[in-house]
């Protein structure tokens, strides 16, 4: 049974790998020339600025698979580029690609660079990826941006770990599905997480930047 499982694992992994290779070394070739040119300009700009360009290319490929128009793909890729740029400005140059990608997702749902900077200031060597992913999801599900941001900030500075944030997310999601107001669900569940460090600063609640969607 174990050997069979290994064989299946190897086979499927190999198949997946080959399948990816079959699509060729230039996956952007599936874009029309005009769209491809615009996307490649963004990729070059990202490289030039030292930003991770993988998320931009990934967004373009995602658009192709979801049959988005060339214009929509360029608009989406441009949003990712801008968000990555703003995220790095907020989090600092030492931020990882995953952190920047997660922060870009948070910026695109309306979290401000000020709020991101506040989180980054309390980093203490820990990765911000999971808190930012959870923050972006909560806002997407209807939690007010300030409420979500301040709650995540409080947990972050009190020493909450990735598992705490993911556990919080699961609980809040369950409550929302059950009909609880998203903001109330978040506040109630956050109270159940024990603090692991000192609470000091006042969480940032003011925003200076509207969500990306509000501008389009």
């Amino acid at each position: 049974m174990k050997h069979m499982l290994i064989r299946v694992t190897a086979l499927v992994a190999l198949t997946t790998s080959l399948s990816a290779q079959d699509r060729g070394a230039d996956p952007l070739s599936r874009l029309d020339p005009s769209t491809r040119y615009s996307v490649e300009l963004l990729l070059d700009s990202a490289r030039h600025l030292g930003l991770p360009y993988g998320p931009i290319e990934s967004k373009a490929l995602e658009g192709i698979s979801k049959r988005a128009s060339g214009r929509d793909i360029v608009v989406a890729a441009r949003r990712v580029f801008r968000a990555l740029r703003d995220a790095r400005a907020a989090l600092g140059p030492a931020s990882s690609s995953d952190e920047l990608t997660a922060a870009a997702g948070a910026l695109r749902v309306g979290i401000t660079t000020t709020q991101l900077s506040s989180l980054a200031a309390r980093r203490d060597g820990k990765a911000l990826t999971v808190p930012l992913v959870v923050l972006a999801d909560l806002v997407t599900r209807g939690v007010a941006r300030d409420t979500a941001s301040s709650t995540i900030f409080q947990l972050w500075q009190s020493g909450a770990a990735d598992d705490d944030f993911l556990g919080l997310w699961r609980s809040v999601e369950r409550d929302i599905v059950s009909g609880t107001d998203p903001g109330v669900a978040l506040l109630n569940r956050a109270r159940q997480i024990p603090a692991k460090g000192p609470l000091t600063a006042v969480p940032p609640t003011s925003g200076v930047r509207p969500p990306e969607d509000a501008k389009t």
Binding site: V12, E62, K66, T129, V133
Partner: protein
């Protein structure tokens, strides 16, 4: 509910298979299902000769978001000839009153044939209010039972309440059901043997007049206002190819209404899915008597196979909320830079995922059981984005993981793999 007290024959075993849990009605797809159960059963009880029978039980069920139709019957053979055994047709209607409260109505016509007893036919009409949350619910209901061609009871009224909850693969249920009816006391062959000689008997000719003509007055000495209360608990457990159902209960009531054999009961059933459409079925236990049908308690054991088939072709299944169909979505490490993705989702033909790990090219999952799908994904530590789709439908964010907007009018799931 009165419908839960089906007799313990192989036929009942098959019918129980069709109502294996509350989750079945929570799904939001139109579906046509056909099943055929073939097996053998041994039935015994007080006043019943031990009986081995072969049973062939076809059934059909159509379900969509607002109603379910179910029909089933059984052909029984004692080795010499085939006869019509149990049969049932049932319609359930569901109306959402608010986000989490649902009104449910059910109409049921059924026939139960037990060797040595006249076939019992009965109409049931019930309604209930059902509070449904994500992991559990509670209901209150009432209804009327109309026995046909049974000389032991009048119409019966039923009141019930219950709760259920889901914990991972386990569904737990508990219910209380009270049945009120007027017993026409008699000591003929159709009565509960434990009551013979205890209750004042009606003159046979007078009882026959009531039963057949329905108009003759019955002496008050022949009537008995009866009340029985059943407390029942049950559980369903499903994991990969195995389904297990357990139930047990206790009946309360006057000794003239509840025989000693019907005070406690319990049963168990297991299904092992050998393929996505074939299962081995084993069951056994003890069932209480059914006073509205005049049938006694009995024990049973059964063994058989079941074929399941979903004839609505792929593409015509109306999936309104595909994420609701997904029972679980799990990713676990399976080696260096390799993740094992398992998705539990039944009654679909194709499940695919795509994400940055596949350069956003769709990758189909392999079917590993009746409702288990599997894929090994080369995925290293870090943040990944993933979408899934069912039967070629819309790309959705998998349930159970955070998601964000995808900039293409949809959502994408986000995974963070630890290093």
């Amino acid at each position: 509910m009165a419908r839960q007290k089906l007799p313990a024959t192989a036929v009942a075993v098959s019918l129980v298979l069709l109502t294996t849990g509350e989750h079945a009605v929570a799904q939001s797809a139109s579906e046509l299902e056909m099943r055929l159960h073939a097996g053998s059963a041994r039935t015994s009880g007080a006043g019943i000769a031990s009986l081995y029978q072969n049973a062939l039980t076809p059934s059909l069920r159509f379900e969509n978001t607002s109603f379910t139709l179910h029909a089933g019957a059984a052909a029984l053979s004692d080795g010499f000839a085939w006869t019509l055994g149990d049969a049932a047709i049932r319609a359930d209607s569901r109306h959402q009153l608010s986000r989490s409260v649902r009104a449910e109505f059910a109409a049921d016509a059924s026939r139960i044939a037990l060797d040595g007893y006249a076939p019992s036919q009965q109409l049931d009409i019930t309604g209930r209010l059902h509070l449904i949350r994500e992991r559990g619910g509670a209901w209150l209901g009432s209804g009327v039972i109309r026995p046909l061609r049974v000389a032991t009871v009048s119409n019966a009224s039923v009141s019930s309440g219950g709760v259920w909850t889901k914990v991972h693969d386990l569904t737990l249920r508990a219910s209380v059901t009270t049945t009120l009816f007027t017993r026409f006391a008699t000591n003929d062959a159709t009565s509960d043997t434990s009551l013979r000689g205890v209750v004042t008997a009606c003159p046979v000719n007078q009882l026959a007049a009531v039963t057949l003509e329905g108009s003759a007055p019955l002496p008050s000495s022949c009537r008995r206002e009866s009340r029985v209360t059943d407390i029942e608990t049950g559980l369903n457990w499903e994991r990969r190819r195995v389904e297990v159902s357990l139930r047990g209960g206790q009946r309360f009531g006057h000794r003239l209404d509840v025989s000693r054999a019907s005070r406690y009961w319990g049963s168990a059933q297991g299904n092992l899915w050998l393929t996505s459409q074939l299962a081995a079925v084993i069951g056994g236990g003890r069932e209480p008597g059914q006073p509205t049908r005049g049938l006694p308690a009995r024990s049973y054991a059964s063994l058989g196979f079941m074929l399941a088939y979903w004839p609505i072709p792929r593409g015509t299944v109306l999936v309104e909320s595909p994420a609701n169909l997904v029972k679980s979505f799990e990713l676990k490490p399976a080696g260096e830079a390799l993740q094992r993705l398992t998705v539990r989702i039944g009654r679909v033909e194709r499940v695919e995922v795509m994400g940055d790990f596949s350069d956003w090219a769709p990758v189909p999952l392999e079917r590993r059981g009746r409702d288990l799908w599997e894929l090994f994904i080369p995925m290293g530590p870090g943040m990944h984005q993933i979408n899934m789709r069912i039967d070629g439908g819309r790309w959705i964010a998998p349930p159970g993981i955070p998601s964000i907007r995808d900039d293409f009018n949809g959502q994408v799931g986000v995974l963070v793999i630890k290093g």
